[in-house]
Symmetry: C2
Subunit: 266 residues, 2 copies
């Protein structure tokens, strides 16, 4: 049976989901965006009807997927006055219960950083699935499995922790990359020089726990190098950040895991 799916939101997540579901043979019924133009661009790509009012939502959709930013989900909910066959959202930090006034609801959260301009291999995107009934979960698992090889059944609390973890792994790590690039640029060195190291760093933790992959002056408690680096950083903000993260590396013992420095060096 071919499911009819409607997508609310034509941003990064909506774009990638609609496109990939369409490629997998699902029928995309409607694309909603407040901007009719945005809705139309995406709708055209996936052979769907563009709408810019939620009152025009087609009740016959088998699944309606909300792909708007977290703070807008409750506004969407206020405007869906009927009982959809299955209504889900795609947010990491929002509990499933925000949809509890609907008889059939769930969460379909792709744990990845999406950008309209970057082609993404949906097969490697982890999907976190939650639903209010076994039947709804089964439906969502079937759709997720068509898209990706990485499916996780997790509850709202766990999903929130996933989102926090993603902030560290993506947002905060990216900030470290940004600082590195700016330090290089300020010293007339091409930021390209650091790119192989960034790739290697990410690849290493694919097969080694990051705690064991930790190297550098902080984990060695090499106070001379740390002091020298802090002296050389000009901005007070960066001095503080260097010092703070170095201390954190040395003290990091969540869950009483022992610090364990492997035979590696930078």
């Amino acid at each position: 049976m071919e499911l009819n799916i409607s997508i609310i939101g034509a941003g990064n997540v909506g774009w990638h989901l609609a496109y990939n579901l369409y490629k997998k043979g699902y029928h995309i019924l409607q694309i909603f965006s407040r901007s009719f133009e945005n809705a139309s661009v995406l709708a055209k790509n996936v052979n769907a009807e563009p709408i810019n009012s939620l009152s025009k939502l087609n009740k016959s959709a088998d699944i309606i997927i909300i792909c708007v930013k977290d703070s807008a989900i409750s506004k969407v909910v206020d405007k869906i006055k009927f009982q959809p066959k299955l209504l889900v959202h795609t947010a990491g930090s929002i509990s499933m219960s925000i949809l509890s006034k609907y008889k059939s609801h769930g969460v379909f959260y792709p744990l990845q950083s999406f950008s309209k301009t970057t082609e993404l291999n949906i097969k490697t995107v982890p999907f976190c699935i939650e639903a209010n009934t076994q039947a709804n979960k089964k439906t969502l698992l079937a759709v997720a499995t068509k898209l990706s090889g990485l499916i996780y059944e997790i509850n709202s609390e766990q999903r929130l922790q996933c989102h926090i973890a993603a902030v560290f792994a993506n947002n905060f790590a990216n900030h470290m990359f940004a600082i590195a690039e700016q330090l290089l640029a300020k010293n007339d060195i091409s930021p390209d020089i650091i790119k192989p190291l960034i790739i290697e760093t990410a690849h290493k933790v694919q097969h080694t726990p990051a705690l064991l992959a930790q190297t550098g002056p902080a984990i060695r408690n090499d106070k001379n190098t740390i002091k020298r680096h802090i002296e050389l950083l000009q901005l007070p903000q960066l001095k503080k950040l260097y010092s703070f993260v170095s201390d954190s590396i040395l003290n990091f013992k969540i869950g009483n895991l022992p610090l364990n420095n492997k035979n590696e060096q930078l």
Copy 2:
């Protein structure tokens, strides 16, 4: 002309350099390690003579490469009593001038994280080259070019900045990955769930400046999400780190570069 190269140090850098130089057709003359056993294991792999005393260094080596940890370089220098044809070190944070009592000296710094247990594509390792004469620089550039496609002529001050940048890009980013993994583990979620995001994060900055790739609650100044995340983090250390790095993301304006948030979301 086939150069004879000796390597002082059988750690991660010495291991990878010796092995790759050997593969490229260089004759590895001697491998020094304080542990004769360590010297022997590597020497056997590259058809070299193992030594555990620097007094046994063969003066006929065209290049002697010091691959010991930063703090041990001066001790090595104390023990090399003759004038090598060309003596170089491989340290990011140590000035070339530590070798200034030798007529021919330089630096041959591979900007990558090495591990004996991980096979590395030396072609993608950036080499930072410095030398005290044009002739010596030419020699080092020729060797580096045989190994890698990424060669940078940079001075000692710039190299130190590269090393600080590498601490941010590798050590500090890895710490963010480690925290993410531990948060997941504590909540009974497989750390594997975050791995595709880590890869995507590293790949994105290969073609997009990290400052422009920044996403997440901090750059959006989404105070509600930030507050909620900090509440959910149990360890005071992590609460502080989350808050500190979030502030840093928002305030990050090195060189008066404008903050520029692209149309991306996590």
